[in-house]
Amino acid sequence: MTTTESPDAAPAAPLSAAGNPIGFGRMLRKEDARFLRGKGNYIDDIQLPGMLHAAILRSPYAHARINAIDTSAAEAHPKVKAVITGAVLEGLNLAWMPTLSQDVQAVLATDKVRFQGQEVAFVVAEDRYAARDALELIEVDYEPLDPVVDARRALDEGAPVIRDDIEGKADNHIFDWESGDAARCDQVFADADVVVTQDMIYPRSHPAPLETCGSVAHMDPVTAKLTAWITSQAPHAHRTVYALVAGLPEHKIQVISPDIGGGFGNKVPIYPGYVLAVVGSIVTHKPVKWVEDRSENLMTTGFARDYHMRGQFAATRDGKMLGLRVDVIADHGAFNGTAQPTKFPAGFFNIFTGSYDLQAAHCKVTGVYTNKAPGGVAYACSFRITEAAYLVERMVDILAAELDMDPAELRRRNLLQPEQFPYTTHTGWEYDSGNYPRALEVALELAGYDELRREQAERRDRGELMGIGLSFFTEGVGAGPRKHMDILGLGMADGCELRVHPTGKAVVRLSVQTQGQGHETTYAQIVSSQLGIPPEDIEVVHGDTDQTPFGLGTYGSRSTPVSGAAAAVVARRVRDKARIITAAALECDPSDLEWELGRWQVKGDPTHGKTIQEVALLSHSSLELPEGVEGHLDASAVYNPPNLTYPFGAYICVVDVDPGTGQVKVRRFVAVDDCGPRINPMIVEGQIHGGLADGVGMALMQAIAFDEDGNCLGGSFMDYLLPTALECPTWELGETVTPSPHHPLGCKGVGESATVGSPAAVVNAVIDALKPFGVRHADMPLTPAQVWLAMQGRPLRTDLAIT
């Protein structure tokens, strides 16, 4: 394994006639042609003949018993075609559906509502305005109940029991999960010179893709085939769940995920609205469109994080890290709907030892129900590695403060060393590759770290608050090895199919689904790199279960590590077949041939050979092929990853804080990422840019808080603040390249790296700026009010309303 600082020395891929790299390299995106013209095809753009429109009545209460629902006035509305309640669904055995975490979730409430915004009734009408009108005509008799709002009190004696639908349930406990060696950890802590402890919240956040969630469902009354257009990051998984939930035969379900206006994990779960659109179509015999509004999106669909953590670091006085211990209360909301591999109820949180060489580690996570929307695993979190990376990187800075040591120096002394890879952590992860010290040094140099510290000292002397924050993260992506990782029993391996047409053009069919990541370009480049076919001659098909092989979809940065590998494998199979066909055509032995990009040729006689395009035609021709070799030029593969890939990076954030108002300005952000070789560097950089903005948003602006009655305080973009171009600096990127030893292309996923790594850098920078005030920690989001209060020594609980 080698690490290169700059890939410039690598030979460039040759260019096609259209000027595209035949393989890896910067290439403008194929999909842009339609988006730039306003010709994308998003869920709400779909219009079908006779299509009806639906809307959902939602609970105004966080916790209430439903005594009665009167839908008669709504049903009498002249444009209303159907009104569906929980009672109607009970008759169809559809009132509850399974979640992705072995729980059930109400499709429409029958007994109680358990969070504000929960689905209570569904109206299908001739147009979207009439459907909304009819919601106003439904009368619901609610009996309000005490809500459970504070996750830390969910297990208190006498707390209201939220899930009394579960037989025998007498508390709000979901699970306890432990990882690491508690006894060894205790020993290390007992022997340590220094132990620091800190409570911290990773507040509830929301991915808030600009396109909300929605579905158009059409149950054809003649063929009994359901076509469901869904904002889905995982169309195949959704189809299987539809089959299981509704009892529909899977071959009679076609899930189409059209253009997706951003996902970030928000479009992984199955939402009640999707199921209700199907029911609405079955009931009305018409296509039914349901698209949520922004408040519905923010208040009810897959939120992220909500981890209440206590971290403890043990170290020697001279800065040798020894052990890390974490206790977590995980707020999962009213239904346990987290989307993650089955054996990982806290996701991959137990990767919390991060990038450091420790002697022991242990974590304990307790999941609880509260009267809030379900979810938890979303928002580019890599199955909760966001929370893990934030925890360890905050704790490192707190330890540095305790030791009065520069945080860069403390990291430098404790990072895993290149020769330690592959490295097995104290919680069982096998990091495949890495050169951490080099990435840190590249970042420090790019930032001009020493000069920044000098500037900071000068500014402090003038009473100015400048902060410098570091974060070093290790990601784990590409879930995952099927013997360890499944969702609803479906192993996390993905299929890929490749067919080269007689004229040498190709089509590659994927199980994953882009939400903006540029798959139509990147996967063409992957195939191109293996076969030498220009990327403009390769069509990428995805997002339609009738057109693509089975697979688990796009989330957790798994597309490149899993499907990207599948595409490489399938292309190599085609290449191998092309060798046999070439040998038959040249009447030589396949072993006499060598591959030169785009062409098999005779070793030592390169004038004798066949291009892949010539082979494609030959494979469909009258050429006699060896025994056992079928004609045509195609292949399929299912890729079962042997391990995750482990991208990493070093981030440095520079902020200025207004001492009068507490307002934070992000002045600079340096991000050095190592995701192995970059298939399309332009797209990779774009992915990193987006994640860095997420980090600024989460650290400074975004939180879904609740008041004591369980009212959601982040239900619109006026309340849930997202970063604009004014809050974001010009991102300064650097890279190192450490290929994964087990991925066929050496690639590691990068889609979530920056979201995982950046929040801690921003928070560390702000806390560093507040050092003159003796501030050790304050929870995200570091709004002006929060920063100002931290300066006064009394930071807020940001998950609760200010009271």
Partner: protein, 180 residues
């Protein structure tokens, strides 16, 4: 009620409900789905169109208020088969990912450059600060608009080699082992 307005150079007349939002009029009644809807509260800017030459958020304009006025949407940026320099800039600089905010961003960008052909990066950021992008972190959106400012005639002949490489940058290929 009946409204008549000029949309992308064509006069259109429709019977509508008085409460109909302009964004729904454009999308559902005219089938111009390039204009998107994202928030209801004038925060996200995916619905930006021009009304009488000024960018407006069409989710908070009634179609009735547009009666007798001139509306321009993203579908009108491309002229005679040639992309507007702003559209070309977004492609050249990877100024879009999922594409949902893109039409609104481009309408604002076109307006900005019509009024200030050489804005600073800070002025570009200010101009698009009423609009969200969840994918790009804004950097490449700013670069895209800057590109359009620097190429007022676009790429000209080479306008849109569908997904062609930027030849200047195409050398940024990756390490050897990957194509082996």
């Amino acid at each position: 009620m009946q409204v008549t307005m000029t949309v992308n150079g064509e006069e259109v007349t429709r019977d509508i409900e008085p409460r109909l939002l302009l964004v729904h009029f454009v999308r559902d009644h005219l089938g111009l789905t390039g204009t998107h809807w994202g928030c209801d509260t004038s925060n996200c800017g995916t619905c930006v169109v021009w009304m009488d030459g000024e960018p407006v958020k069409s989710c908070t304009v009634l179609a009735a208020m547009a009666a007798g006025r001139t509306i321009r949407t993203v579908e009108d940026l491309e002229r005679d088969g040639e992309l507007d320099p702003v559209q070309q800039g977004f492609m050249q600089c990877h100024g879009l990912q999922c594409g949902f905010c893109t039409p609104g961003m481009m309408m604002t960008a076109r307006w900005l450059l019509d009024h200030d052909p050489d804005p600073t990066d800070d002025e570009i950021r200010e101009a698009i600060s009423g609009q969200f992008c969840r994918c790009t972190g804004y950097e490449n959106v700013v670069q895209a608009i800057r590109w359009a400012a620097e190429h007022p005639d676009g790429l000209g002949e080479a306008a849109e080699p569908a997904a062609a490489a930027d030849s200047a940058a195409a050398g940024d290929a990756v390490s050897e082992e990957v194509s082996a």
